[in-house]
């Protein structure tokens, strides 16, 4: 089984929001970045994947099995949410004891090594730790039961760049160990640009695309032009556009095609953040947007 996690047609409806037929899968040994604006449905997707909310439709399979079919599956999943989930008067030592009692696979020596590496004092109460240190403690707890899949929901949000770099390095190390994968939701797209192998973009509860990051960087591009040139553009070539003063920013899904078809334009390489902004803030040529690679 090459896919650690398979999500198919995951649907969940609320009164004012719908997670609509979300589908993607995470291959073994890769990092999947889940991007989208606040309220796009990233956390709802993760909550539904983990069975914290009841899905209306769809299937979620870890190593080919449903999550509630076996407790062993949970042994193999490490999760880090956006804050620490242990009460503030606990210490890293007590957190270790609680986790050791929960997981059969718990490795006290690995936990100990993480505490030392993160300079976390065993007897210090959680309330005295900084946000970054709390996050490191969460990561230490999540990695010490030897999971094969790590699920991170905005785990790097609110951390300074140095702390984020440290944490990203740990994730990269985790994936280098054979067969491990990560599903990482974040609105800090620069983090995902550094480490992700695949990007799934969720917008208003729907998956806009799920692609290899290298393909995105290779295929997608941004054209900046003035109104007269913008009018000449074939709408089918445009994924999204945005006007900034006299300048039009156009997102295209096939950089090479755009270069060949529109000789006088410069097609710039695009960052994931630019892409996110264009999809979220920009206009679409049609109401139902034509999107290359639509899943």
């Amino acid at each position: 089984m090459d896919e650690i996690l398979q999500i198919k047609d995951l649907t969940k409806s609320y009164r004012d929001f719908k997670l609509d037929r979300v589908s993607f899968s995470i291959p073994k040994g890769s990092i999947m970045g889940l991007i989208g604006e606040n309220g796009a449905g990233k956390s709802t997707t993760i909550n539904a994947i983990l069975g914290l909310i009841k899905k209306d439709k769809g299937t979620v399979r870890f190593w080919g099995k449903e999550l509630d079919s076996s407790k062993q599956i949970k042994e193999n999943i490490g999760v880090v949410f956006d804050g620490i989930n242990f009460y503030e008067t606990l210490t890293p030592e007590k957190v270790g004891k609680i986790c050791a009692a929960a997981y059969k696979q718990w490795d006290s020596s690995t936990y100990q090594k993480f505490l030392e590496r993160f300079s976390l004092s065993k007897g210090k109460e959680i309330k005295t730790l900084s946000k970054g240190m709390k996050m490191k403690l969460s990561i230490a707890a999540a990695l010490s039961h030897r999971p094969k899949l790590l699920i991170l929901d905005e785990a790097t949000s609110g951390l300074d760049p140095v702390m984020r770099a440290d944490i990203l390095e740990i994730f990269a190390e985790f994936v280098r160990e054979g067969g491990h994968s990560i599903l990482m939701s974040s609105h800090i797209t620069t983090d995902l640009e550094k480490v992700a192998d695949y990007i799934t973009f969720i917008h208003r509860g729907k998956v806009l695309f799920c692609k290899r990051k290298s393909e995105l960087c290779r295929d997608y591009g941004m054209i900046r032009c003035e109104s007269d040139l913008f009018e000449k553009f074939d709408r089918a070539d445009i994924l999204a556009y945005r006007r900034e003063g006299n300048q039009w920013n156009i997102l295209v899904g096939d950089k090479e095609m755009a270069k060949n078809k529109y000789k006088n334009v410069v097609v710039d390489t695009i960052t994931i953040e630019d892409m996110l902004l264009m999809y979220v803030k920009g206009d679409k040529p049609n109401e139902e947007p034509y999107i290359k690679g639509f899943v």
Binding site: L52, K71, V79, F81, N85, Y87, E88, A102, K104
Partner: protein, 217 residues
């Protein structure tokens, strides 16, 4: 499930000193006014209330969400809460008995004899049953209304069992059943079974409420 129990004991451990102080203050007030027996039962009931505090701690750090990603199910989480409740009640009546007997001797409300020792042990047993019955009512209330509202509704968990007792008493009276010492003794002998059935009903209600809830915070 051991991890869930351990977590609650560690969390509440921080409040242990405050609880001991409260029990001491109560000892001074209650032993003088109502006697050692009332104090022992009150100590058990006071400690049973700490179960609601554990829910407040859980809410503060979104523990339930985290617990469910561990290899446990919702039923395990509920079961652990009832086990923790029994631990709190046991500790409560044990500490209550020690403080009560000591206080009773100091305040000359108790004379050391075999009979009084047996009475105090019997009261500790009654205290355990009463506090478990009261405390187990608060668990489904907290699952239904949350820790904050549940705390306010604690009164309900005292009123409902008392109301049931009162209704049973009235029915017995209606049918002309006389409350004799023998009947009281029989009820007391059956009380562990009554408590077990009560706790099981409360457990099932809690499981039913919690299973329908979505744990996102």
């Amino acid at each position: 499930m051991k991890s869930l129990i351990l977590k609650d004991l560690y969390n509440i451990g921080h409040n242990a000193k405050s609880m001991l102080l409260i029990l001491l203050v109560f000892a001074v007030g209650l032993i003088m006014s109502s006697g050692v027996e009332s104090y022992i039962i009150s100590a058990g009931v006071l400690c049973s209330m700490m179960i609601v505090t554990t829910f407040t701690f859980d809410d503060n750090c979104k523990w339930s969400k985290y617990a469910l990603i561990m290899p446990v199910c919702k039923k395990d989480i509920v079961k652990a809460k009832f086990i923790v409740l029994v631990i709190f009640c046991t500790v409560g009546v044990c500490v209550g008995t020690i403080f009560g007997v000591s206080g009773g001797l100091v305040m000359r409300k108790l004379v050391m004899s075999m009979e009084s020792i047996v009475t105090m042990l019997f009261m500790a047993f009654v205290g355990l049953i009463v506090s478990v019955i009261f405390g187990s009512m608060s668990i489904p209330l907290v699952y239904k209304f949350g820790a904050e509202k549940g705390r306010m509704l604690l009164l309900v968990s005292f009123v409902v069992p008392l109301a049931i007792c009162f209704i049973v008493y009235e029915i017995l009276m209606l049918f002309g059943v006389e409350i004799t010492d023998q009947l009281v003794f029989a009820i007391l002998c059956a009380s562990p079974l009554i408590a077990l059935i009560w706790v099981y009903i409360m457990y099932r209600i809690s499981c039913s409420i919690f299973s329908k809830q979505e744990v996102i915070g």
